[in-house]
């Protein structure tokens, strides 16, 4: 295994055992599942709707992630700085890229695990009706990618500051901005006066636009590319911020 992948894996495993070695992870997962359950069943009236699709479940992810994911990401770098271990990892013979990737992937996998734990819902739907498995699969992939995008924003804001609270707030605001730019109220406000290309441009930057596109059941390369390039860009910025702190 090439050195880079090996180092990234080592960091990732360390972070993951860290997550599951403390009660915070379990609290987070329980709260996440409870909230998503509440929104799906009570607010969206999943049963009453009578549809064997999981739209009433997946439509909540952008909003739930808005608060929950910054809470996972806020400790990524802020904690290292606070405890002082940033001096330790930055003086180990591994590159910053490996550390950033390792930490990010661990957090992403953690969020992914939390999402997978919603599978009983899928099982219920399968029992009660005949869902389109392709759409369900796409929806999971889409929300996983979007989760990664939120995380990358949170990771970046965490590198800016020592304080977890500031990181959280900055991440929430940034993610809100990213989500809202594709939201109908915003796009409708723009349509009145802005040229079409501008409206499309602003909408195309939004998490929401691409998420909804995937929800329709098609894994369009453009949407995947959007999320991955967004994540890449955020993590790159993350690196730039950390390096600039060195000087």
């Amino acid at each position: 295994m090439p050195r880079t992948l090996r180092n990234t894996k080592i960091i990732m495993l360390r972070e993951l055992t860290g997550y599951f070695g403390s009660p915070v992870a379990y609290v987070f997962i329980v709260i996440f599942l409870m909230l998503i359950g509440f929104f799906t069943f009570s607010v969206s009236h999943f049963y009453e709707a009578g549809q064997a699709d999981l739209r009433s479940h997946f439509e909540w992810y952008p909003w739930l992630f808005l608060f929950l994911i910054p809470s996972v990401a806020m400790r990524l770098w802020a904690d290292e700085k606070r405890v002082g271990t940033i001096e330790l990892i930055m003086t180990l013979p591994i590159s910053l890229t490996e550390v950033i990737m390792g930490k990010f992937l661990a957090a992403w996998i953690f969020v992914g695990i939390a999402q997978l734990l919603t599978f009983p819902l899928v099982l219920s739907t399968m029992y009660l009706g005949d869902p389109d498995y392709g759409t369900v699969f796409c929806a999971y992939v889409g929300s996983f990618l979007m989760g990664g995008a939120y995380l990358s924003v949170g990771s970046m804001t965490s590198a800016i500051t020592r304080s977890q609270v500031v990181s959280f707030i900055l991440a929430v605001v940034a993610c809100l901005f990213m989500v809202l730019s594709g939201w109908p109220p915003v796009t409708e406000a723009l349509i009145g006066w802005a040229p079409t290309w501008l409206v499309n441009l602003v909408a195309s930057f939004s998490f929401m636009t691409h998420y909804q596109s995937i929800q329709r059941g098609v894994l369009d390369f453009r949407d995947i590319f959007y999320y991955l390039s967004f994540i890449f860009f955020m993590l790159y910025t993350n690196g730039v911020i950390l390096i600039s702190r060195k000087s």
Partner: protein, 323 residues
């Protein structure tokens, strides 16, 4: 060999490290001394690449830290200030993590970890989470990660900080032993540590190197060096003072105490010309009852104070000259 070349660091307008250069060869243990804020930690952080220098560089075993940091860091073991460790990990899992990052795996990894645990006396606490350990143990865990891979170069920022006297003794013996075939830089506030461990001491004040010498030579800079301390019993003060004062080679006589016994310090005129035997001869000739006689070597803390105050004055002069 560690070569530090013209390291300079600005934090905004403040020059924290001012053109520091020095070398440390294998077999040397260099002690960094200096007042707080002098630039010791900053210099060490530049050597390990944690901070980027404003100018200058450090070359470790032929590898430039600013150009090939990862290669250089493989040769270094670093103990940062405050001994940072991941709090929720157990001591053992932390050392496993560090060993894996350093490239060890399988049986070799376990062997190294076990050896290091033995050396650092961590056996009793390896399965405890680090945040439950006392400061001394936490320090030793971080110390352990710095020696895990048996590096040729060790850089330690206050390695005995917060340890009790026994632990200090153990750590110092370890450093002395390792210093035989490694190049070690350590920073400390404890002057007796310099005597105990270092082959050379460097005093840094206000970002400058103000002294770079063996501990014995540094002590010799003290005004007290070579002075004879004489404690006489039942002496007639005036008689004793007179006969001692006229001795050739005596510069000055200082009475430290004349209440109980006569406690004198006799300063020599020239350093290197021993005075003790002459004083002894004079005292016996005049039937003075000697309770104790010894030759002062000078104290490091006094030399330190003198030198750092000079460094402070020089900085002030620099600032005035600039204006």
């Amino acid at each position: 060999m560690i070569e530090v070349k013209n390291l300079t660091k600005f934090f905004g307008p403040k020059k924290a490290v001012n053109d520091i250069s020095f070398e440390v060869k294998k077999g040397e243990v260099l002690g960094f001394l200096g007042p707080n804020g002098a630039g010791k930690s900053t210099t060490m952080r530049m050597i390990t690449g944690f901070i980027t220098p404003s100018s200058g560089t450090a070359v470790i075993g032929g590898v430039d830290i600013t150009q090939s940091p990862i290669e250089a860091l493989q040769k270094i073991g670093y103990l940062p200030e405050n001994a940072p460790v991941y709090p929720e990990m157990t001591a053992r899992s932390f050392l496993e993590f560090c060993a894996e990052v350093r490239g060890f795996a399988g049986a070799e990894k376990n062997k190294r970890i076990d050896e290091t645990i033995e050396k650092c006396f961590l056996k009793d606490v390896i399965y405890q989470p680090v945040n439950t350990l006392s400061k001394g143990f936490k320090q030793r865990v971080c110390f352990a990660q710095s020696i895990l891979h048996d590096p040729e170069y060790l850089i330690m920022d206050e390695p005995t900080d917060g340890l009790d006297p026994n632990q200090k003794h153990e750590v110092r013996s370890m450093i002395r032993e390792m210093g035989i075939n490694k190049a070690i830089i350590l920073s400390t506030h404890i002057l007796e540590e310099v005597d105990a461990v270092c082959t050379r001491a460097m005093i840094i004040a206000n970002g400058h190197v103000v002294a770079n010498d063996k501990p014995e030579q540094l002590r010799a800079r003290s005004g007290l060096h070579g002075a004879v301390r004489l404690i006489l019993q039942n002496a007639e003060v005036e008689k004793a003072k007179n006969c001692l004062n006229v001795l050739p080679g005596v510069k000055e006589l200082e009475v430290i105490d004349d209440k109980k016994n006569l406690n004198l310090r006799i300063y020599p005129e020239t350093l290197g010309v021993p005075l003790t035997d002459k004083v002894l001869k004079c005292a016996t000739e005049n039937s003075l009852q000697i309770e104790s006689i010894y030759t002062e070597q000078g104290r490091l803390d006094e030399v330190f104070r003198m030198i750092t105050e000079v460094g402070e004055a020089r900085s002030r002069l620099d600032r005035i000259v600039k204006q």
